[in-house]
């Protein structure tokens, strides 16, 4: 019996947390996420107990034996009194449980507010339909890093996110690390993120923001400080000069086509902020805000016909010839 129960419990827990750890609130990897998961479990436990008690009373009320009476108005004064007392006690108990839950909630909120008051790194995240612009603040303008849809952070350190929106309301949510916070035009919100373990944590926009709300993913990559610093230095570099002839052709096409109207490639004349920054796009894990994984094939598919992959995306389909597409893909692949 005991064994059975244990098997049941573990498989249940596996069912609840295992399947989608990468974006699950039940599989936390940072202090805020852990505090929230604790809160979720304690509320769930208390609420389940209360629900079982109410159902128990209901079941007994239905099956218990009682004497028959012909007249519905005939009631027993004594048992009415007992029932009144029971109802009163139940109401008082409800009040106490609610006070208890409210206090739990307040303490959890205080813990969250206390995390990472000393954050060194400030990252501005701006929501666009349907991608995330990411900008690492620095007092030296030349050391500001801009990227998109992928946020690298040093593990074990709190990081301050400054959340803004360029168009409609979005909501930044990486469940394993923290709860969500909205990006509201005209409002600046801040959220402290901390990952205790190295890893890649997925999140996505949680406020309905139009046609491609479903494809507005974001990755938070937590890595050791040394790796993070190396990544940061790499991001500061200009785009590498393409080495192959095909890639050079691709660059020229890129710079002479509408691509430059929206994208920025540092070290070239492409300098627009309307779309995601591409200087090191090929080093990212995903394309089009988490819609596709990064690969040559996906890159080609995306550039050839973004509208069929992410209908409604702001990136137009550009009717490139096969050779042009090939060249541009070769160029973008060099943007590591």
């Amino acid at each position: 019996m005991k064994v059975l129960a244990r098997v049941g419990l573990t498989s249940c827990a596996g069912f609840l947390t295992g399947c989608s750890g990468v974006q699950s609130a039940l599989d936390p990897h940072g202090p805020a996420g852990e505090e929230l998961a604790r809160l979720i479990w304690s509320f769930t436990a208390l609420c389940t107990v209360i629900w079982l008690m109410v159902m128990g009373v209901l079941a007994v009320a239905l099956v218990r034996r009682r004497r028959q009476a012909a007249d519905p108005l005939e009631t027993d004064v004594q048992s009415e009194h007992a029932a009144s007392r029971a109802v009163l006690m139940a109401v008082v108990a409800t009040g106490l449980v609610l006070v208890c839950l409210t206090v739990l909630s307040f303490f959890a909120n205080r813990t969250l507010a206390g995390i990472g008051a000393d954050a060194e790194l400030t990252i501005e995240v701006t929501g666009y339909q349907w991608w995330w612009a990411v900008r690492y603040e620095n007092s030296e303008p030349s050391r500001i890093v801009t990227t998109a849809n992928e946020i690298h952070i040093p593990s074990g350190e709190p990081v301050r996110l400054v959340l803004k929106s360029q168009d409609v309301i979005h909501s930044f949510w990486v469940p394993a690390l923290h709860g969500k916070l909205d990006l509201v035009p005209g409002v600046v919100n801040t959220l402290t993120l901390q990952a205790d373990r190295n890893g890649t944590y997925r999140g996505q926009c949680a406020e309905y923001c139009g046609a491609q709300h479903a494809h507005m993913g974001v990755l938070v990559i937590a890595q050791p400080r040394v790796e993070f610093d190396a990544w940061y230095e790499a991001q500061l570099q200009n785009a590498a000069e393409p080495s192959s002839e095909l890639a050079r052709q691709g660059r020229d096409l890129f710079l002479n086509r509408p691509c430059v109207m929206c994208h920025k490639v540092q070290g070239t004349v492409a300098a627009s902020n309307a779309g995601p920054e591409l200087t090191h796009v090929a080093s990212r894990k995903t394309l089009a805000a988490g819609t596709l994984s990064m690969s040559r094939g996906n890159l080609a598919a995306w550039i050839a016909d973004p509208q069929s992959i992410k209908p409604g995306t702001r990136m137009p389909t550009m009717n490139l010839t096969g050779d042009e597409l090939n060249a541009i893909v070769a160029y973008v692949e060099t943007l590591k």
Partner: protein, 640 residues
């Protein structure tokens, strides 16, 4: 001239001077709706209007259900290409507004239009023409929204229509306008019914029905109507401001020009949260009527239940911010709303405990209506508890706008409102049609609905905690949400099928159900004192109430009040607290005018999507129809 000076002259034919047969003949002649198409369009009988409302709302329920089925099929697996984002976003918006504005609120009000005048023992609802007007407004608003959807200009901004997504810059075309004006339609119609309900309850109760003898369902409709009166203007302001931003170029919600995007959310949720209680409170009234009838005893704790209704009504205005915990509001303010949101669980809990005590102390008979009430307990208590979870600011940060919330509010709205409503259908169907619904099909319906519902919505809690947000038309394979979503879809189809069975039961029973008689359940309130279905005049003589359960207290013959004219549409007006008879008043006669007035108002709403001048030109036909409507009649009114 005071009453003491002159004895009023006796005009007309009175109900105390006629034999039973002649009395019914006179009453029928006076109160029956006129014949023909014009007659049908002119009807002001609350039962006729309510029946139209109920059938229309049921049609919208089916349409909203089909929306849901389409969405569930698309979500049954990851990266399915059955429905694209453009259609999907219209689908969930149409599902939301159809279920909230075209099904839930109207059907609750319609039930009230039918039952409240019967339960308080009067001949018609107060302001019957206004009630007829509200139906025409409601049905044209619904047709407007669905025709727009059919023309591929259905709203795609969600049922909440947040700016800036619905604003002029990011909501091109007319889709957001359709949303805003559909809201306006339903605001007007539900406000009209709310006013009529309040006045009926306050001034038209049968003699002796003092405040402590009002059936709990009537109390629930009264509180609901007050909540409507205070909540609807907020969303009316929101939708009107939005129309102004879109049409006239104001910048009320535009942060760049000093406007505020969050203002819209405050206005919307100041209405939006009470809206939930506008749907839920009438359902609690139904539960409070069904349980005593089947537990074979008066409801336990009448006074606490009334106080709970009133306090829920008031508290419902103090929790709107819990829909906005993730917008980054100041922490202290947000925490206040945690406490206030928790607080509303106390009166709701009190209601549950009183009903449990009624069942405990009673002798429950498990007929289909009570089965649905038991289903209500099972589902609603769970939904209420997840509601307590959502009230916590930090917890809400994780589950807000995920499938956990989708699960929560379907548990609350389907468990808390639709299950009681289905129980109420089995309970009052005999009164409406004179025939019983099939008990066998009813049980099948209940179990299918119960299993289907829980299979569809319970797993949503889990997938929400796994990180699945709401309002996404698809999801990636890697996240592992495929199997659970397939399971949810299967449950949803089962739930949908239960409604097919329900429809079959409705049709079969209306045709050849067992004849019901006046009071098939041996219930205690006044609607069971008249024939099934009731005649156009409801009661041959106005009953006098001596007890909260008049039919149980006066088993053999209900005392009646006499002296009303039967050759004119006279009602008895009584005092608010004690229900002492005060005056005899004429109820409005059938009139065609509410119909063209509704068309004129609706035309103005539609026109104002395209040009602000529609408001100016539309006021001309509106004025003409209103003049026709209120054209003075040369009859004396208010006879003491």
């Amino acid at each position: 001239m005071s009453r003491a000076d002159v004895m009023p002259e006796r005009h007309g034919v009175r109900d105390d001077e006629l034999e039973a047969e002649a009395l019914r003949h006179w009453l029928a002649k006076t109160w029956d709706a006129p014949k023909g198409l014009v007659g049908a369009l002119s009807s002001v009988d609350h039962k006729v209007i309510a029946r139209r409302y109920l059938i229309t709302a049921f049609v919208f329920l089916c349409l909203g259900g089909l929306n849901a089925v389409a969405m569930r099929v698309q979500l049954s697996g990851p990266e399915r290409g059955l429905i694209g984002p453009d259609l999907y976003n219209q689908l969930f918006t149409m599902h939301g507004i159809t279920m909230m504005f075209l099904f839930a609120v109207p059907i609750m009000q319609a039930t009230g239009i039918y039952l409240v005048p019967l339960m308080v023992g009067t001949r018609n609802i107060a302001f019957p023409r206004l009630t007829a007007f509200s139906y025409w407004i409601y049905v044209s608003g619904g047709i407007f929204a669905w025709v727009s959807f059919a023309l591929n200009i259905g709203p795609d901004v969600g049922w909440f229509g947040y700016v800036p997504l619905s604003g002029p810059e990011f909501g091109p075309g007319k889709r957001a306008d359709v949303w805003a004006q559909m809201i306006t339609y339903t605001e007007v119609s539900s406000l009209a019914v709310a006013v009529a309900t309040i006045v009926t309850v306050f001034k038209q109760r049968a003699p002796g029905m003092s405040l402590d003898r009002i059936p709990l369902y009537v109390w629930a409709m009264l509180v609901t109507s007050f909540v409507i009166v205070f909540a609807m203007p907020a969303v009316m302001i929101a939708s009107t401001f939005l129309i102004l931003d879109r049409l006239v170029g104001t910048h009320i919600f535009n942060p760049v020009e000093g406007g505020d995007a969050l203002l819209f959310q405050h206005l919307f949720w100041f209405f939006g949260h009470p809206e939930v209680y506008i749907i839920f409170l009438p359902a609690t009234g139904m539960v409070s009527m069904i349980i005593p009838a089947f537990a074979r005893r008066p409801v336990f704790g009448y006074l606490p239940l009334v106080l709970a209704l009133i306090s829920v009504g008031i508290l419902s205005f103090g929790l709107w911010v819990h829909h906005m915990f993730t917008t980054g509001l100041p922490k202290l303010g947000a925490s206040f709303f945690t406490a206030s949101s928790m607080l509303i669980a106390i009166p709701n809990g009190l209601q549950i405990f009183c009903w449990l005590a009624t069942l405990w102390e009673g002798r429950p008979i498990l007929k289909t209506p009570l089965l649905f009430v038991l289903g209500f307990f099972f589902i609603f208590v769970a939904g209420g508890l997840t509601g307590v979870m959502l009230a916590s600011v930090p917890l809400d940060l994780q589950v807000h706008d995920t499938y956990f919330v989708v699960a929560h509010f379907h548990y609350v709205l389907i468990g808390g409102a639709v299950f009681p409503l289905l129980g109420a259908t089995y309970f009052w169907f005999p009164k409406l049609t004179g025939r019983m619904m099939s008990e066998r099909l009813g049980r099948w319906h209940f179990w299918l609905a119960f299993v289907g519902f829980n299979a569809a919505f319970f797993p949503m809690h889990i997938v929400g905690l796994w990180g699945m947000p709401r309002r996404v038309y698809t999801y990636p394979v890697e996240l592992g949400w495929g199997n659970i979503n397939l399971f949810i879809t299967a449950g949803a189809l089962l739930f949908f099928f239960s409604f097919v069975l329900f429809t079959i039961n409705l049709i079969l029973s209306a045709r050849n159900g067992k004849p019901a008689g006046d009071n098939p359940w041996d219930a205690g309130t006044l609607e069971w004192a008249t024939s099934s279905p009731p005649p156009s005049y409801n009661f041959t003589k106005i009953p006098v109430v001596t007890h909260a359960e008049p039919l149980w207290a006066e088993r053999w013959a209900l005392p009646v009040a006499e002296g009303l004219r039967v050759d004119a549409r006279e009602l008895l007006i009584s005092s608010v607290a004690e229900a002492h008879p005060e005056v005899r008043e004429k109820s409005a006669a059938p009139s065609i005018w509410p119909f063209p007035a509704a068309l004129a108002v609706g035309g103005t709403f539609i026109g104002s999507i395209f040009t602000p001048w529609a408001v100016v030109w539309g006021s001309v036909p509106i004025a003409i129809t209103l003049v026709g409507w209120f054209w003075p009649k040369d009859v004396p009114e208010d006879v003491e």
